[in-house]
Symmetry: C2
Subunit: 272 residues, 2 copies
């Protein structure tokens, strides 16, 4: 590693232990309230497949389950191709810390080829350009928030945590790595987890939360990501239902030409 290396690359750096096993470590720059930011853990597990010598094609789908709190420090990732077909490959990935499972994941990779393609989801409403918006504050937020430049158009974090219940949890914002970094599948994975917990916006009350499972569907191919470079992405996130300790969030990440790069869903624990 060099001084010039991006903090995200350091945060997802893996030591290849052979046989699909990798040593990883949490990053102080991507720390959350307690333990690491889940998005960077997801990205490290994704990276273990991206770096695996048996990898076929590019990510199509990825699901990570956060099985327990992860302590700051080292952890291990084991990635295993459970089934390789002609154009698709299925992966099972496990992260352990001191021998205990802290996360499980599955991934589908595929070789894709150009064919009939159409968008369907509505892109976000007319968008305020990135340059005309102020950056969302990272004051009082955990360290990882400073590693993302977020410029919010709608659905900001509450300024008054008054329990006043907003009508909607929907947010629309620009987001990119800080410092800017060329987009790739690992950083797109982490970006899918950068949306603030929907319950904070809807409930206007701070409550303990934790993502229990996160799924990402990748619509962009590698060339699209390379072409985007470090340009900001447009994100939209909304909850569908809050019930008895769990809410779901569905979100989309778009490029600045209104192309859907990833759709992503998560189920989040909350306590109050």
């Amino acid at each position: 590693m060099t001084e010039a290396e991006h903090p995200f690359d350091r945060a997802i750096a893996l030591d290849d232990l052979g046989d699909g096993r990798f040593a990883a470590g949490t990053s102080a720059q991507y720390a959350n309230m307690v333990g690491p930011f889940g998005g960077v853990i997801a990205a490290a597990l994704m990276q273990s497949v991206l770096r695996h010598p048996a990898r076929l094609g590019d990510p199509v789908a990825f699901t990570i389950n956060f099985a327990s709190a992860i302590a700051d420090g080292v952890y291990e990732i084991a990635a295993h191709p459970v089934r390789t077909n002609r154009s698709t490959q299925h992966w099972s990935i496990v992260a352990t810390q001191s021998g205990d499972v802290v996360a499980t994941a599955t991934a589908v990779f595929a070789k894709r080829r150009p064919t009939w393609s159409r968008p369907e989801a509505e892109p976000p409403p007319p968008v305020v350009p990135f340059d005309l918006l102020a950056r969302a504050t990272s004051a009082g937020r955990p360290p990882w928030v400073s590693r993302y430049e977020m410029r919010t158009m709608a659905g900001e974090m509450p300024s008054d945590w008054d329990g006043g219940e907003a009508a909607s949890s929907t947010s629309c914002l620009w987001v990119r790595d800080d410092p800017p970094r060329p987009l790739d599948y690992a950083s797109l994975t982490a970006l899918c987890d950068t949306f603030m917990p929907r319950i904070f916006i809807r409930r206007r009350l701070w409550v303990p939360i934790g993502t229990v499972t996160l799924t990402i569907y990748f619509h962009a191919d590698a060339q699209m990501l390379i072409a985007l470079g470090d340009r900001p992405l447009l994100g939209v996130a909304r909850a569908q239902n809050f019930r008895d300790g769990y809410f779901d969030q569905s979100a989309q990440l778009w490029d600045d030409q209104q192309r859907l790069l990833a759709s992503t869903h998560q189920m989040v624990y909350y306590r109050e």
Copy 2:
């Protein structure tokens, strides 16, 4: 098994082999074009956790990856609790056939307790009562379609497969088991996979398709399901993006009181 047993219960019947291993078999009544209907395979994997002696609580999230075609006949399911916390439990599940992995799954179970709860997603538009709608045809469809009574309000399967491209892939329909069967987590799992492939509706062209991964978030607790009995559910499904051989579908299942029971997402392979 008795004559009176519901075909769905026979289709997800498991022989307990001990140590979290179960023998399962495909059902002719739930056959798809090729091999079994994926929803019933998902339900059988869910059932392996529901029946596991170490199970804690009820399903919160479930993801299944269809790793390869499944042949008609026997297959084996191995369910393993990888992490048990105070109120949550994480599962890893693998289905094999003749020793090869045909599906992998993960599940999050939890003990839930009543707390602040709110809906957010819009329920479907004013709904035509079940009794006033005609049943969708199962003529020319694979056998499993006859095991679900579907009454479609919008987004029917095309009557002309003319490649004429509909503006939207959204469907809204009533759906229940046929014969009617009291709802439970296993049948709700299968119901989440009963939506016709979005590309058929959008593209109006028959193309080979296959779900590669399916995720379900459960919002209903066991008491809600029991109280619903065998009443039909309201389903809404839409695609977000079709691109280079894969499209995603997001769907919801509601009860007749506009309560969200499950939100579900899948990524589907298509070829043309």
